[in-house]
């Protein structure tokens, strides 16, 4: 896991403590299934650095890439739900009364399919 320390200590990127923990956990979980996961994470880091010299921006891009790597389905769904200002998949949509019927059916379709 040395390569993660190198990433976390890089002055080109800023990550919060909880973001670092999430990335570490993601590495641990994905390494169960993919032997080359450090290569994939290193590549994500490199490409995140290409966008700007701003370490906060880089941190945000890198973290999002890792999130997408760990939760590809959830990430896709949350992206689709952003326009409805929904930020979690585990919600009871019937308990809310801010959406029209048409919107509810669109949201339900997003939440319940792959």
């Amino acid at each position: 896991m040395n390569f993660l320390s190198t990433i976390f200590n890089s002055d080109k990127i800023h990550l919060t403590h909880s973001q670092k923990n999430f990335i570490k956990e993601t590495y641990e979980i994905l390494s169960i299934f993919r032997k080359d996961i450090n290569k994939i994470i290193k590549e994500k880091f490199k490409s995140a650095m290409l966008y700007s010299n701003n370490k906060f921006k880089n941190g945000k891009i890198f973290f999002e890439e890792i999130y997408k790597l760990r939760y590809p389905i959830t990430y896709k769904k949350l992206t689709q739900l952003r326009k409805f200002k929904i930020f979690s998949l585990e919600i009871d949509i019937n308990q809310t009364n801010i959406y029209s019927e048409k919107e509810i059916s669109e949201i339900k379709n997003i939440l319940t399919t792959l």
Binding site: E25, T26, F33, R70, P72, E90, N94, L111, T112, L114
Partner: protein, 320 residues
Amino acid sequence: MSIRKTEFISKYYYGKEVVDLDEFIVSLADSCNLNCEYCYLKFSKTPKKPVVYENIEEFIKEIDELFKNSEEKIFYFHFGETTDSLLSKKHIQLLYKFCEVISERSKVYSKSCFIEVRTKTFNISQLTKYNFNFDNLKLIYTTSLSPQNIIDAFEKKTSTLEERISSLKQAQSITKLIGIRLEPIIIYPLVNIDYEGIKKSVLNTIKEYNEVLKKVFDVVDPKNLHSISLSTLRLTKKQFKVLKEKKSKLCFPEMTLCIDGKFRYSRPIRTTIYKELINFIKYHHTNLLEKIILSFEFKYIWQDCGLQIKTLPNLSINVE
């Protein structure tokens, strides 16, 4: 002889916002040596080795209290939560004694009781030695079913799928009530960690579990099916941490922490699995729809799947 120092009977608490199926747990024994990789018993305060409790007089007091103080007419007792119901001869002997007591007390208080025995063993032949035709009590033989590749990977010491199916066939000579438990439904193997890989793994899983259901329908008369429960894998935080350290393949990447403190596959995955299995069951036997329940799920997931919320006693009302 082991003495149970805490209560034998407890109302099952499913967790925050999880649909309550209204069952009572009877702990005539604790622990299990079948060692399934996901079993929560290893993480709870249970003895390391299986123990059976024989202080039945305490149980009689508790059952009297329960019946005396409740207006309900139907009670659903689950005997396989703190152990495998048919783990050993001793378990089965005690189960029979407990059933005798429940039947007798039910008559006194005019209650109707349903006893769920749940097993992953192939100890059905021991059970057939007893006559479970009791007054006011019905036995429900339930078995947890998984595709053989899941059994090989995570339930190594349990009976094979073929044995479990065969036990269902035999169980119908003891009781006309059979319960099918697809719990936990495990996505395995994971084809790849990307979106397409996960999707493919989910679809493969559905196919495998449909095959299991098909085998059930080949041997069980649908009239004898009391209930079919579906529940995808859940792991407590502690389990998740320990399994991750052990590099267990149960630590699926798309698992999220839910409000009840358990990790589950993300909602689109769970709902897809449930809906597809429900469709498969419906396609084969339309009237089984009303016998399907989701275990350890939230109300909105039942709604996602078009299921009416029901409890285990509800499902037992019209049973003859």
